[in-house]
């Protein structure tokens, strides 16, 4: 473990919050597990009714729409969320699960055949983009374009946000689905009724925005880091093979430790005391999931990977009513990835790596990799 894996260790032991500078804004970061869960449940004091300001850093410069249902408070939140829930439950459908397994088989076979593979661009980005077509029930060919959006739609390596392209693309998809409706996500939102009325284009784009942006870098980094872990710990693959029942607990442990999303914001509607710090009305706090997931008060040996950790009350998918809609998708993908890698792969040797660091004024945190070149070798006896 390096300090970049848990940059909040000292601050969390010292104080419940870290007052951190984020692009000129002072944001108290709530660091401890119990405090983060409590704040996530308290919608009155810590509101999500803040278009484009729930993520930290804020996304005011990179998107024009409010994300639904993330940036909405109760009571409307529930009605917004239930409109898209059926799509986000699709990964539990055995047919969708079978497609995810087949996709991972194909990607692993290609990686094994290749002289070397950049896990980020040749494996995790195609995995995320193609699997998303299964979730949204659209033609898999659409993924070819999505793959070109890179690791993070709003901030990929070339520094140019793909946000405007994505918004235009989604608008076209809604318009096309209006003319020729199908069983896909875009058609479903065109037909959906919210509290007795149709959704506006702004609302539909807000749903699409989070479906594309929210589940992107998170899935990509988690998949990459799981493969990196197996590269460094080949015995873990033996362990999964010997104890296939560990696939689920291993996935949860990887979610806990490799959470790409450092934190998410909430806005205080009125002046609020947050662990001794006064937050002015309209200012933000951070629910620092990544710190809470390493709180030694809750997790014994918090920086150790324990493939069979149980209980493991991590909050990698958030907590409370805003918990991650894509969690079933993430679980289906990572469980399949762990299982298939154990079945097919003998060793992964890292050739070169470029970690992706989130560098802020008060901390630097490793969120994933920009590039991770590796050589995969096939397990003997596995065709």
């Amino acid at each position: 473990m390096t300090d970049h894996d848990d940059p909040f260790r000292e601050a969390r032991a010292r104080c419940p919050i870290l007052l951190a500078q984020h692009q000129g804004e002072t944001i108290p970061m709530i660091l401890r597990h119990k405090d983060v869960r409590r704040a996530a449940k308290d919608h009155a004091q810590f509101s999500s009714d803040a278009p484009r300001r729930v993520p930290i850093p804020s996304e005011e410069a990179v998107r024009t729409v409010r994300q639904y249902p993330l940036e909405v408070d109760p009571p409307d939140h529930k009605d917004y969320r239930k409109l898209v829930e059926p799509f986000f439950l699709r990964p539990k459908d055995p047919e969708v699960e079978t497609r995810i397994h087949a996709l991972i088989d194909t990607l692993l076979d290609a990686a094994i055949e290749a002289a070397e593979t950049d896990i980020v661009h040749d494996f995790s980005i195609p995995l995320q983009s193609r699997a998303l077509t299964y979730l949204l029930n659209v033609d898999e060919k659409e993924a070819d374009l999505w793959i070109s959006w890179g690791i993070h739609v709003f901030k990929d390596g070339d520094g140019k946000s793909k946000g405007p392209f994505m918004e235009k693309y989604c608008q076209k998809m809604f318009e096309a689905a209006e003319k020729e409706p199908g069983e896909d996500f875009f058609s479903a939102l065109n037909q959906a009724e919210f509290q007795g009325r149709k959704l506006s284009m702004e609302e539909k784009l807000g749903y699409a925005n989070i479906a594309f942006a929210g589940g992107r870098d998170t899935i990509i980094h988690t998949a990459t880091r799981i493969l990196k872990y197996f590269a460094e710990n080949p015995k873990a693959l033996d362990c999964i093979r010997e104890h296939p029942e560990m696939v689920n607990t291993a996935a949860e442990e990887f979610f806990r430790l490799f959470i790409p999303l450092t934190h998410i914001g909430r806005v205080c509607p009125v002046q609020t005391d947050v662990h001794g710090h006064s937050v002015e009305a309209g200012d933000r706090v951070s629910l620092t999931w990544s710190s809470a997931n390493r709180d030694p008060e809750v997790f014994e040996a918090p920086n150790e990977v324990k493939l069979d950790r149980k209980p493991n009350p991590h909050i990698a998918f958030g907590f409370g009513i805003h918990n991650c809609l894509g969690q079933h998708h993430a679980r289906a993908i990572m469980r399949a990835l762990i299982q298939k890698t154990a079945e097919k792969v003998d060793r992964i040797e890292v050739i070169s790596e470029t970690p992706l660091l989130e560098e802020e004024a008060d901390y630097t945190r490793k969120v994933g990799y920009e590039i991770l070149r590796a050589k995969f070798s096939r397990r003997e006896g596995n065709p």
């Binding site: 689920n248 607990t249 949860e252 149980k310 209980p311 493991n312 009350p313 991590h314 009513i321 679980r331």
Partner: protein, 104 residues
């Protein structure tokens, strides 16, 4: 094999005659409505929240600290609440009756 009865929130009873595993695993294997066990049984998601029939509370026992912490945040928590993933069904629990808690 122990027998376990789940009472769903719609009042329907699901009786499992040959219960093996945790209450969450038994419920999901037998399609008990309202128990989804999303996190696979690590006490992270609370989607296997149940109420133990008062007659059985002593035999089932109390939650451990981490389970209790998670339950404490659940708005539907009652004194006989448990997370199904943390209750392993043994022969001693033959005849157990539990109610599925409503969704938060």
């Amino acid at each position: 094999m122990p027998k376990v009865t789940f009472i769903q929130t719609d009042g329907k009873r699901v009786v499992v005659e040959d219960a093996v595993g945790t209450l969450m695993e038994i419920a999901t294997d037998n399609e008990v409505e309202g128990i989804t066990g999303d996190c696979g049984g690590v006490c992270s998601c609370s989607t296997c929240h149940i109420y133990i029939s008062p007659d059985w509370q002593d035999k089932v026992g109390d939650p451990e600290e981490l389970e209790m912490d998670t339950l404490d945040f659940n708005e539907e928590k009652k004194p006989n609440s448990r997370l199904g993933c943390q209750v392993e069904v043994t022969e001693a629990l033959d005849g157990l009756v539990v109610e599925v808690a409503p969704e938060e």
